[in-house]
């Protein structure tokens, strides 16, 4: 199969509106998690969230996207999408080409609009302008329409691994001859729906999340979007290649709808098969961007799975300590961060960590370092036991 490379990046998160801004913040160990301001909620001013401090109205104006039915999720998606296509220098012809795939991971869709959705779902009066905007696909379809895209397109929802799976699907479309290039990634915006959902499961932390720390109390939700442009290496001659996607896998933990099995079979298999697909041995992984949500269950199980695979655990961190858990966008955002690690041969500190878990003793990296990096693994594990692992390599 052809080698797949990354020729464009775009991102927006709680620590920056561009690739460079995100990188600066990561280098400086900046934490973008604060209390909720953008929409009224019982949790405003209370629960820490990785909120992007730009209001939806402001985003509409900045992106000149004021047509009816536009949601915050649409806007974050558009922002990162535009950056990625610009970074890759894609022409209008290329974007519109039937050879260009667009794969978007998303879990919230337009459900960030709680009151409008409640009204449209329950009432029999006049519907709101958002009737066609609630499902996850509406985000993808609106970009397809805006950019007159004619290539293969899909929306993937596998909860927290959605955009990692979107990246994989796009890569496979290219490798199987269904596309020449793929714009892949994901988006999610903060919503009362997900805030209350995770809160009902008692896995939200009342304080800043502490991935892998023995006193961790749960996750902080975040929002954001990231897109990557994937192409075959032989088609990318003369382009600015950020990294190679050298391996990937998706497996199922098959244990419980909302927690991982004690031995971490799903995460273990995802990492193992990703390594096999890349033709790499565990010891060749220089760094792991973990799923690392800060929940009791995930961090314990992920640690155990890493111990099963790696004789010596590679240096690892959780960037969710900077921006929170961005759900559908997490896989893609963390892919961008992994690529930044490779491009600049540096690793960023994992935040809010004090003491390791007693039974696993794993310690994430806590300071900025310039290091030699060749291969990086990025993991995402979602509800329904969905486990995905991506491996990026330096070009």
């Amino acid at each position: 199969m052809s080698d797949i490379v990354v020729t464009g990046l775009g991102i927006i998160s709680a620590i920056g509106n561009s690739v460079n801004e995100n990188r600066e913040a990561l280098i400086n160990g900046f934490c973008g998690i604060s209390t909720l301001e953008n929409f009224p909620s019982r949790f405003s001013g209370v629960l820490p969230c990785g909120e992007i401090k730009i209001s939806t109205e402001e985003l509409k104006q900045k992106l000149a996207a004021t047509q009816p039915g536009v949601t915050r999720t649409d806007l974050l998606c558009l922002h990162a999408f535009r950056q990625a296509i610009e970074d890759a220098g894609l022409t209008t012809e290329e974007i519109e080409s039937p050879d260009t795939a667009f794969i978007n991971g998303n879990t919230v869709g337009g459900m960030c609009l709680t009151d409008e959705l409640y009204h449209d779902a329950n009432k029999h009066e006049q519907g709101s302008e958002y009737l066609g905007s609630y499902d996850c696909s509406s985000v993808t379809l609106s970009i397809q329409a805006q950019y007159k895209m004619q290539g293969p397109a899909s929306t993937i929802n596998t909860a927290c691994s959605s955009s990692a799976n979107a990246i994989m699907f796009g890569a496979r479309l290219i490798q199987n001859g269904f596309a020449k290039r793929a714009i892949v990634g994901g988006v999610d915006s903060l919503a009362k729906f997900t805030l209350n959902g995770f809160n009902s499961l008692h896995i939200l932390s009342p304080a800043l999340c502490k991935p892998f720390d023995k006193d961790r109390q749960g996750l902080n939700l975040g929002e954001g979007a990231a897109f990557l442009i994937l192409e075959k290496e032989e088609d990318a001659a003369g382009k600015n290649i950020h990294a190679r996607l050298s391996g990937y896998s998706n497996t199922n933990d098959a244990y419980h709808p909302s927690s991982l099995s004690p031995a971490g079979d799903g995460p273990y298999l995802a990492m193992k098969i990703a390594l096999e697909s890349a033709g790499l041995l565990p010891q060749e992984i220089d760094f792991i961007n973990t799923h690392g949500t800060g929940t009791e269950n995930n961090d314990e199980v992920e640690s155990k799975a890493m111990i099963r695979i790696f004789e010596i655990i590679p240096t690892f961190s959780s960037t969710k300590s900077n921006i929170g858990h961005t759900l559908g966008a997490a896989g893609a955002i963390e892919a961008v961060y992994s690529i930044l690690n490779l491009k600049h041969q540096e690793i960023y500190p994992s935040l809010n960590f004090n003491e390791p878990q007693a039974d696993t003793g794993l310690v994430p990296v806590r300071e900025y370092k310039q290091v030699h990096l060749k291969h990086i693994m990025s993991n995402s594990f979602g509800f329904g036991g969905n486990c995905s692992s991506l491996i990026f390599s330096k070009v």
């Binding site: 499961l201 008692h202 419980h256 709808p257 909302s258």
Partner: protein, 89 residues
């Protein structure tokens, strides 16, 4: 109205069945000392959260931590004992 313990036990059993949608379980068949989790009724972690919500909505009892909840939600006896002591509704 103070309910007799036996009546409260039956009410709680009915509520468990209804709240958790235990479609093939008859409330009167749940033994007072039958474990709710693991063996016995075989409920799981999501059920324990659901029962905490039940205690709040029906009896005005707040339990913050699901782990604390598991100590109360051992069987119908312990559950009813806790309700009688702490109910505000």
């Amino acid at each position: 109205m103070i309910m007799e313990t036996e009546d409260l036990k039956l009410q709680v059993k009915k509520q468990i069945v209804q709240f958790l949608n235990l479609m093939t379980v008859k409330p009167e068949d749940i033994k007072d000392d039958e474990p709710l989790f693991g063996e016995g009724l075989g409920l799981d972690s999501i059920d324990s959260i659901e029962l905490i919500v039940l205690l709040s909505r029906e009896y005005g009892i707040t339990i913050q931590d699901p782990k604390e909840g598991r100590k109360i939600l051992v069987d119908v006896n312990t559950m009813v004992g806790y309700i009688e002591k702490h109910r505000t509704k």
